[in-house]
Symmetry: C2
């Protein structure tokens, strides 16, 4: 999915919602059974119930790796079930030297056919370049994250490290296919990141369970020429809206509430 297709789907659905597919086996509705099959059935039902409301899905690879031998098959089937009009994001936060990064890129983009992957910037440019070499794929680099201990290292130095990551990486070849992870729990940071990277999409986790507020994020990070330039991820509040047989309808109702807020933001800022 290229940028014009992404803008088109945002405008058509009046949504910039990403649903985080991080299925916790302990929270999957009992009637689906247990184990890897239950996880897959859960994911497929969530995708089917919400794909007209969401512009992206983001399976976090840790939740699939923890399933052991069946994890890869569940992940592959989940990614395959994400419709073409939604961005599929392999959330792996990978980062390794060049020849290894090529293997990670092959795993995510060739093997699993994800549209995007999240990457950790610690090791620098040569750990990201092999991903940027894919012309029709997105690389989403961690900048300022939503977790409490983001303060340990992401703010190190002056200017803080996350600003250095945003500035330096924009000069890399293929940087037009970079997005950035910017957490929702600190709106002033979203504003700061937008000032430094005005022309890139931000993947914004932390709305909902982690405490971030949608209106604040839009106020702080809106990029009008990118239909907002925000992809806001919501996970647990949608996935676990109900633990009963109506879990998919409950997830849809929750996603619809968020999509309606997003539509209002898009209208107001058009």
């Amino acid at each position: 999915m290229n940028q014009s297709q992404l803008l088109e789907t945002i405008r058509a659905k009046r949504s910039f919602l990403c649903i985080g597919l991080d299925p916790d086996p302990a929270r999957i509705p009992a009637h689906l059974g247990t184990g890897a099959e239950a996880v897959l059935a859960f994911n497929l039902a969530i995708i089917e119930a919400t794909s007209d409301l969401a512009v992206a899905y983001k399976p976090n690879l840790a939740f699939y790796e923890a399933l052991g031998a069946l994890g890869h098959a569940v992940l592959a089937a989940t990614l395959a079930a994400i419709p073409e009009h939604c961005l599929s994001i392999a959330d792996g936060k990978r980062g390794d030297i060049g020849n290894t990064a090529e293997r990670y890129a092959a795993a995510a983009f060739d093997e699993l056919n994800a549209d995007a992957i999240t990457l950790a910037p610690y090791m620098g440019r040569d750990s990201v370049e092999p991903f940027l070499a894919y012309k029709d794929k997105w690389s989403i680099l961690l900048a300022a994250t939503s977790n409490p201990s983001a303060l340990d290292f992401e703010f190190h130095g002056s200017p803080p490290l996350y600003e250095q990551v945003l500035r330096t990486s924009q000069s890399w070849p293929g940087a037009e296919r970079l997005m950035y992870v910017v957490g929702a729990t600190r709106p002033e940071l979203v504003e700061r990141c937008r000032a430094i990277a005005p022309n890139h999409f931000f993947l914004v986790p932390g709305v909902g369970a982690q405490g971030g507020n949608l209106a604040d994020i839009c106020e702080a990070g809106w990029a009008a020429q990118l239909a907002g330039g925000l992809i806001v991820n919501v996970g647990r509040s949608v996935l676990y809206a109900s633990s009963g047989e109506g879990f998919a309808e409950a997830a849809r109702a929750e996603a619809l509430k968020i999509q309606e807020q997003m539509a209002a933001e898009l209208d107001r800022r058009a």
Copy 2:
């Protein structure tokens, strides 16, 4: 494997060699065939030929993920073939928020039963703590890596970021089970890291193909109370010592050369 067992195996084998199991399908001897089965046969032969000379094996997870559906089985069988007297290191450079880090820890330590995992520090303490909670496992945090673009961010700020990582992380609960990745290509950095973290093992990549020199690394980073405190990783020069039917014997001969240098360092510095 706890610290006293690790020290014991280093002293018994007179070695601190780690062999990086990063099998490139294009470089596996032709007589083994192709695909995932060939990769596994290759790994098993390398381990069998070298396990009296090596104290650790380090499969890099990217090379297994790139194999697709069969990758997990090849990785699991490779890890299972590493003898108990060798440290098995899942080289994944993972790093994510707390509840996700728990899933990664379960994948590496419970599912795959690796002794150790490599981790990226970008997101800070809560991305590492779930790994440190495992009492008999090791977490190996990236500090100063061996790749050229380590300079992009690892040296950001004053003191540089990698020093901040070394200092800060030593205060985390369970830090006695932390090791650090310190690249061999810059011996002055190994010396600097040793001054900051005198009581931790360093996993040192970059000797051989990447240009680092064993004697220089020992001079710079030796910690006598830890039998050197170094685990030196060698990959391609051992794995691809020969592309013929005698590849395992050639790998052994190459590993033996390195082990003999290590024995001399251990004797000299005892």
